[in-house]
């Protein structure tokens, strides 16, 4: 009976936080399938680490911290795994360049890519994608999730001043990206 009660509590936790966590991760990594996997990883980590949760901190800050770390880890791995479309940097002959060059697949053909284009294709979403990950996380938590500066600082383990600076710079960059679209 206690086990059933625990399962119901876990499901409620997922139900309450699945949309904000998924939204944050999706806008960070910009890949729907990957975002779902990472969101699942986030919730699994949260539930396995519930015993170590300290109640003096806000639960939402804690869960967003885990989600953000999962997304940032993925983006870092993606940077390391980035291959050149034009061939390996150390390729010398034309043969080597052609052998190491990647063929880019037109993702717009897949239903998933169409859905992603629809969800993240607006001007503002494309502008957010161009921000640095740290700026992106801060601006999303502030203006999309509506978190206070102090909570964002707690979530991202950053000083309050740094959070305000990141948000200010992110807004500046977004203004610059959006300005040509308005003319």
């Amino acid at each position: 009976m206690a086990r059933e009660g625990r399962e119901a509590a876990y499901r409620e936790l997922v139900r309450r936080y699945e949309r904000p966590v998924f939204s944050l991760i999706y806008r960070m990594v910009r890949d729907r399938a990957l975002a779902e996997d990472l969101a699942q990883d986030t919730f699994v980590k949260v539930m396995n680490a519930l015993e170590s949760y300290r109640p003096e901190f806000k639960f939402s800050s804690w869960i967003f911290k885990i989600a953000n770390n999962v997304a940032i880890d993925q983006l870092r791995r993606r940077e390391l795994d980035t291959l050149s479309l034009d061939g390996a940097p150390d390729a010398r002959t034309q043969q080597e360049v052609e052998a190491t060059a990647l063929q880019a697949v037109d993702r717009a053909e897949t239903p998933l890519a169409e859905l992603e284009a629809r969800e993240l294709g607006s001007v503002i979403e494309r502008a957010i994608a161009k921000l640095r990950p740290e700026y992106r996380a801060c601006i999303l938590l502030r203006h999309v999730e509506g978190r206070a500066y102090e909570e964002i600082a707690e979530t991202l383990d950053l000083p309050l001043g740094t959070v305000k600076t990141y948000i200010h710079r992110a807004r500046q960059e977004l203004r610059e990206y959006l300005e040509p679209m308005r003319d």
Partner: protein, 170 residues
Amino acid sequence: MTHNDLNEADRDTRVIRELSRLPALSPSPGFGDRVMARVRLPQPKAVVLFRRARAWALEPRRAFALAAGYVVTAITTLGFAVPWLLAHSAAFRVAGNWFSTQILGGLREWALTLAGWAFSSDFMTRVASIGSGRLIAGAAVVTTVYAGCGLMLHRLLRAPRGTRAARVTL
């Protein structure tokens, strides 16, 4: 404030407005089920130990070895116990008779004493003098008290609902 500052403030406001209008995106249906399929719910230690012991014992070769060991032990024990019992059967017969006499005799004495007291004292007269209404009311009170105690015991022994996760301030 200059014209440029106003423009910048205006553009800033527009950016913030567009950001706040961004929709919350949802994962695909069944997300919660997929998460729960990956979560291992904690079990009480006794259940964990019991399952480990059962898994250990049910491993085919081990299970066969355990069963064979049990059979051998049982046969060996009977091999010693049965001849010994047969050799001392007279002593066991006397002891058995003595125990049954004591126990059955004691029970018989107790039943006769209780019946004698019930019929020789004025207990039956008193019971007969109580009106049927009072008897029924008394029986109802006793039943209610008994049921109330049972319910209270059930609530005390029932496993608590919910967990730390439910008590977290969400």
